[in-house]
Symmetry: C2
Subunit: 168 residues, 2 copies
């Protein structure tokens, strides 16, 4: 029983756009997807999903309401996709996969929680350095202004931080 499907996307494609309902859960095999919203013309990057990430636009997925976000392929990508109905079937069928689901969710929760604390406790400069250390490849994969947004900065602000660092 093959309950997921393999899909290949070109850079520039969208897995999800605003107004859409969310039917699928994704696993990133290879590539990069940027998860963002646009409010009042301002792009706000929430996450970059790269190799090994499970993801979707979770809140609309669960609540069965339309998305307000984009999942844009920012680098040619291979993803494994499972529909919501198939995911539920799998969980009904298998206690151990339900457990896997629980543990995955737990892991995602912890990641997020630690990220909150990182954000709260570190300066912007420190958070930039930490990102540079933990996910250096991002800086080759996505433009700097998206990284600035992800860090909660303006492009100008990030540029200033980089300058300050290069002068030391």
């Amino acid at each position: 029983m093959q309950f997921y499907r393999k899909e290949v996307y070109k850079k520039g494609a969208y897995l999800i756009k605003p107004e859409q309902s969310i039917e699928d859960f994704y696993f990133m095999k290879k590539g990069c997807v940027t998860y963002y919203t646009i409010e009042d013309g301002v792009t706000r990057v929430m996450e970059f999903f790269t190799e090994g990430s499970f993801f979707t636009d979770l809140y609309p997925y669960i609540e069965e309401i339309p998305s307000e976000s984009y999942l844009e392929v920012t680098e040619d990508s291979t993803v494994y996709t499972i529909s919501k109905t198939d995911a539920l079937k799998v969980f009904d069928y298998s206690h151990s996969l339900e457990r896997f689901g629980r543990l995955s969710m737990q892991k995602a929760f912890i990641n997020n929680f630690q990220r909150i604390n990182r954000m709260k406790n570190l300066s912007n400069q420190e958070r930039y350095l930490q990102l540079l250390e933990k996910r250096p490849s991002l800086f080759q994969r996505v433009p700097q202004y998206l990284i600035a947004s992800y860090l909660g900065l303006t492009p100008v602000g990030l540029s200033k931080i980089r300058k300050r660092l290069s002068q030391q």
Copy 2:
């Protein structure tokens, strides 16, 4: 089979302190527990757990490493406690409770995720107002400097925001 126990704590007690290993998961029936760390003498509030919260110091709980945080009872509280071994037994025994566990984790994840975005997209003033609206009772229950810390501000900063608002 009663797998949880009811416990009553007085204000000032600790469920968890640094160095301890985390054996239990908690459900807050009534009261308030403040979850914080102290680094370099600086208290950083991560969360206030009030009625209806499931909580523990999750990362050390899962990784089985010592905690670095405090769970301090900031208001007389009644909690239901379940040990890690009992929780695992329950999940082994019951697929539907495992599902409940997964869904609870999912809910916690979404809450957190939305909080991240709130933090990123809103000004400090807006986040203060939002907290005031969503959890007004907190301001009666915990001192303002802890709320400042929770919002990522200094007590002075929060006081200025309050003044600014009162002058409009």
